[in-house]
């Protein structure tokens, strides 16, 4: 202990008051360093909001609320016409399809890991799923562009188009020429990317179920599925929803993977095999070459995305918090 050894060195009638005041100074300094660092987290959030609003202000003034329901995106027209409908539609549709795929699969893996899996396999599979979360999103984008896209365009899409041809509604959803770049491909990549979030949170909340409850259900003769459906899922429902919302927040804001394979088309098409765009993809592909009103419009898109994800993530956290409190009791 450095400070104490100082005191011992000049021992004798050592100066107690001096040592204590040195302690005191160090104490106060350290307290304020940590406190200011903690407050800087709030400042970052404030900075994000302010800088987005400042940047988006010209576009807000120019387009007002009509920005939200204009489909046309013509930044090089004079004056530029900008509307957020295309990217907003793409963001919501891709995230929706992604969740449709990722929720059942993610929960399935979680059930497998907590109820079915032999002990020795638990760690490797859990690790593999969590490593999926570690792969950078640009890698998913490349992989989607070179491997998944061609596969879907050559095999899966023609099949779906043939099967649903002529069926009302579904026929329109699965219509159009097969394409490497489409909303559906982006959604599938998103599903793979958010899978680990759903799985790891579900595994965590499944572990909060008291073993006694499960044992009682098995004791009266329930099958594994009945235990999961009637005991585990009702007990952890809030936590699962929280995890799903967290994954949704990720999916809404995911950028690079989507930019590669969505095709960057601002036109809204009824088919999910058609190219589209999302808010983040639009920003990523156009921002560096934009200026003036075009740039401001892109920042306004960013502001919309931030507000959207903020509410989704806040709801997710509140739900998970509620479950934590329940578990703490």
């Amino acid at each position: 202990m450095a400070v104490q050894s100082d005191v011992v060195d000049d021992a004798g009638p050592y100066d107690r008051a001096k040592a204590l005041s040195a302690f005191k100074l160090g104490d106060v300094t350290f307290y304020w360093i940590t406190r200011l660092s903690a407050i800087s987290v709030l400042l970052i959030l404030g900075g994000i909001i302010i800088s987005l609003i400042v940047g988006a202000f010209p576009a807000m003034k120019e387009y007002g609320l009509s920005f939200l329901w204009t489909q046309r995106w013509a930044p090089s027209a004079d004056p530029p016409v900008l509307g957020a409908l295309g990217p907003m539609y793409g963001t919501l549709v891709t995230s929706f399809i992604a969740m449709l795929i990722a929720i059942p699969v993610g929960l399935g893996i979680a059930i497998f890991l907590t109820e079915l899996c032999p002990q020795w396999l638990r760690r490797p599979i859990g690790m593999a799923v969590e490593l999926l979360a570690g792969i950078p999103s640009i890698i998913y984008g490349m992989w989607g562009f070179f491997v998944l896209g061609p596969f879907l365009a050559n095999t899966f899409q023609p099949f779906m188009i043939r099967v649903f041809d002529g069926v009302p509604v579904l026929g329109a959803i699965f219509a159009g020429p097969p394409s490497y770049l489409s909303l559906f491909n982006a959604a599938l990549i998103l599903a793979i990317m958010v899978l680990p979030f759903i799985t790891s949170i579900s595994v965590d909340v499944f572990k909060t179920v008291p073993p006694v409850l499960k044992e009682a259900a098995y004791g009266v003769g329930c099958t594994t599925w009945e235990v999961v459906r009637s005991v585990v899922i009702p007990y952890t429902r809030v936590g699962i929803i929280g995890g799903v919302m967290l994954a949704l927040g990720r999916a809404l804001g995911e950028t690079m993977a989507v930019t590669f394979i969505i095709g960057n088309s601002f036109r809204i098409s009824s088919s999910i095999f058609a190219p589209g765009t999302t808010i983040s993809a639009a920003i990523a592909s156009e921002f560096a070459e934009s200026d003036g009103l075009h740039q401001s419009g892109l920042i306004l898109l960013g502001l919309l995305l931030f507000v959207l994800t903020f509410f989704v993530l806040a709801a997710a956290r509140l739900m998970l918090l509620r479950l934590e409190q329940k578990a703490g009791k």
Binding site: M1, S37, A38, V41, G55, M142, R250, M256, A284
Partner: protein, 281 residues
């Protein structure tokens, strides 16, 4: 057998099968992605990649040296700025403000920043750093990465410090150790492997980040160590090369992608091993 039993059993078996299928589905993707990367990346991975700068369009000579060095510099700077801030902030949440109203607000906001879209961070740094400095720069890129590092480190630091048993702190305080030294000498030491895990995970998170660098550090075709100019970096270089028509650029992009993925996975696994040692003790 009673037909109801038979039906329940059938249903159970079907669902179990589906769960096993789901797990296989998840593992398959990881395997497929890694195999594609190894297949496409390994063939182009040679010494040239590490010793020469990115080639001009059409050339078939060159490597990724400037991008690798740039990525290293910006990642180190980003973690160097973000990690101490995050460590101190996490310390406040866990040690001083445990029952504070401010703490619960900060924790909540931090959790939201943790999953905020990284492209938004890029827009923020563009507005806050690039515009006032009148130009894209490596320092802007590092700051963007730092903003991503902070919430990760805050979260892990707080969690790890909360795991340190209170009697340790009380014993130190009873010996007359002032509060700041209790934290630095006792709590940090007890939680050390957890804290390192957090920093490693944060490094892994930013090592492959592309979106926040697209319009902060931009990229640079040449070798540059200057912090107030644009700087080459692996993710943006990959992004530009993949979409190019030149076969050699694409080859380099795959090699770069393999490098990044292996680095990130190694960091992740390393963090887990260090974290596991702690729980094993």
């Amino acid at each position: 057998m009673n037909p109801i039993y038979a039906r329940r059993r059938r249903k159970d078996i079907v669902i179990r099968g589906l769960c096993i299928g789901a797990a296989a589905f998840g593992v398959t993707w990881l395997a497929l992605i890694l195999m594609t990367l190894l297949y496409n990346g390994l063939s182009g991975l040679n010494l040239q990649v590490f010793t020469e700068n990115t080639p001009p369009p059409g050339s078939t000579e060159g490597g990724l040296l400037n991008a690798i060095v740039g990525s290293l510099i910006m990642t180190v700077l980003g973690v160097g700025i973000g990690a101490p801030l995050g460590l101190f902030a996490g310390t406040y949440l866990a040690e001083y403000g445990r029952n504070d109203k401010l703490t619960s607000v900060i924790r909540f906001i931090n959790d939201i920043l943790l999953s905020a879209p990284s492209i938004i961070i890029g827009l923020f740094i563009y507005g806050a750093v690039v515009v006032p400095m009148r130009g894209f720069s490596a320092i802007a890129g590092s700051l963007a990465l730092a903003v991503i590092v902070i919430p990760v480190v805050v979260r892990t630091t707080e969690d790890m410090l909360l795991l340190v048993p209170n009697p340790l702190r009380e014993a130190a305080s009873a010996l007359g150790l002032p509060r700041s030294l209790v934290i630095k000498r006792i709590a940090y030491r007890a939680a050390r492997s957890g804290l390192i895990t957090g920093v490693l995970l944060a490094t892994a998170r930013v090592a492959g980040e592309t979106a926040p660098l697209l319009f902060t550090a931009l990229s640079n075709q040449f070798f540059s160590l200057s912090l107030n100019k644009t700087m080459a970096n692996l993710p943006v270089t990959i992004n530009n090369f993949v979409q190019s028509p030149y076969a050699y650029w694409k080859q380099l992009a795959w090699s770069g992608a393999l490098l990044i993925t292996l680095t990130v996975l190694a960091l992740n696994i390393g963090a887990r091993i260090i974290g596991a040692e702690r729980t094993a003790k």
